[in-house]
Amino acid sequence: MKKDLSPQGGARMTGSLGEILRSQGVSRRSFMKFCATTASLMALPPAMIPMLARAMEQARRPSVIWLSFQECTGCTESLTRAHTTTIESLIFDAISLDYHHTLQAAAGSAAEAARAAAMAENFGNYLLVVDGSIPLDNPGYSTIAGISNLDMLSECAKGAAAIIAVGTCATYGGIPHAYPNPTGAVSVGDIIKDKPVINVPGCPPIPVVITAVLAHYLTFGALPELDHIGRPKAFYGQSIHDRCYRRPFYDKGQFAETFDDEGAKQGWCLYKLGCKGPTTYNACATTKWNNGTSFPIEAGHPCLGCSEPDFWDGGGFYKALSMPTENISKSAVYAAAGAAVAGVLVGAMNRSKQNASNRIHIKTSIEDLTK
């Protein structure tokens, strides 16, 4: 089924989410299965499943404005390029995506008019989704319709019920923020302080996390519980390492040393190849990618730690986490050489002190003592 997310393209869906899903051929059974999965993913008690289902079924299409700033469109690709139509993508279709300059058919002033209209109609109630970082050094680095990213974000945030920052660029600055950060890129949370901002990091983030956050918002009218850096705890509560199916190999001390050795073929732990799983919090190891097919470690590649701030500057993707990021050997050799010279000088000083003491030493004879 071809997805059409644009407000201008295709028949604009009306009615409750339940009606929309039924019209798309989603059975009651599939819908309940989705609700149960979402509830369990978000660690909600089973008693909440009917509540979730009722709320989802009756929810009116929330207006969503999606802003893309300094980004690569990978986040949008992640959400819209599923291999098969999933119930998550149908729910995503069912939101009223009033502005998304990659997906919408309208362009130029018509597109900006759609954004202004959506903001005016739903002031105080729309969800603002942002992907990409915001350059602060020079507003001209990234503009849309002549409007700087900072101005557009500030303007759209005013009437938003909540803001969902999608992808590591929007949540923590991401690749544009990487050293030397030529555009002065910052995250949404660095700018917006007076609205709830939920961070859904990842490069790109897992689609189901977005839909689950939306589901939570539709059900409870509030955002889910967040961790200390604004991520939903249900998805970012555990590290990749703790949920990794290769963890037993780490515990046994069985590691792949190279990408093509026997250890790699046996599926052993990728820690030595630079896996950042131990310090990365995300749901890849449990929800997986491509409709639950696999995740990077399962495909034989170490975790890059893409859902953590500054992952790009973490000292190299293929350098093990316990390795120093600077050249310690070189600095140690310089330090040792300098210290050897200093040591000889200190030794010479001590020697001369010793000799001086010996020179002024007056020997005492038996005669002196019997005087």
Binding site: D242, G314, P324, N327, S329, A335, G343, R351
Partner: protein, 219 residues
């Protein structure tokens, strides 16, 4: 500063500064000790220095019966935490990788549960040495600030390493950063405290053995 920034600093510049101070401090102190020299012994030699010196390096490892009876807690807990520290520092996979990156070669690691057990034994033994130090009247009388400082410097990396592995208390990046910072603190103060005994121990034993050997007596 975020936890990731702290971790990056601890893995990079922090480690570089600490290791440079450690290496420079150890080298200067060793040079200073060795260049002091010894006064020429004018007495006639009654035996050889070298063999007695080398023998003493090993014989002093085993405590004699009377000493053991008198200080059994100190000796047992001392051995336990020293062996535990050695295993945890040099035979765990992440630490071997760390050293390999610096010295250019590595060696096989022990399984994680073994390292974990050794860390627990080390922590218990270190706590026992502190309790013994504070409860034994003679030990308490002899204890000074440096003794307590070096205990803290040794204990912190083991404790933070254990917490980092089990993810207790803080997030993984924070725990790893705290662990590295505790190691860096140890490295910085190592050459200037009695922790320097790791390098001077065998020198001192050799000297003791050599002096006795020269005199032709058992050391």
């Amino acid at each position: 500063m975020t936890e990731i920034e702290l971790l990056s600093w601890a893995r990079g510049p922090g480690l570089q500064i600490a290791s440079s101070i450690f290496v420079a401090g150890v080298v200067i102190r060793l040079f200073e000790i060795l260049l002091l020299g010894r006064k020429a012994n004018l007495a006639e030699a009654r035996g050889t220095e070298m063999s007695s010196g080398l023998k003493t390096i090993f014989t002093r490892t085993v405590p004699d019966r009377t000493t053991f009876r008198r200080s059994s807690v100190t000796i047992v807990s001392g051995y336990a935490f020293h062996i535990g520290l050695f295993v945890v520092c040099f035979l765990s996979a992440p630490h071997i990788l760390f050293l390999k990156d610096i010295i250019g070669f590595g060696w096989p690691s022990l399984p994680t549960p073994v390292i974990d057990a050794c860390a627990v034994i080390t922590i218990i033994a270190l706590v026992a040495t502190l309790v013994n130090r504070l409860t034994n009247k003679v030990m308490r009388f002899l204890t000074n600030f440096e003794d307590l400082l070096t205990w803290v410097l040794t204990f912190l990396p083991v404790l933070t390493g254990y917490l980092a592995f089990h993810r207790i208390g803080l997030t993984a990046p924070s725990l790893l950063a705290v662990h590295l910072l505790s190691v860096e603190l140890l490295l910085v103060l190592f050459p200037f405290t009695k922790l320097m005994h790791a390098f001077t121990l065998f020198l001192a034993r050799w000297y003791n053995g050599a002096i006795s050997g020269y005199k032709g007596v058992a050391s």
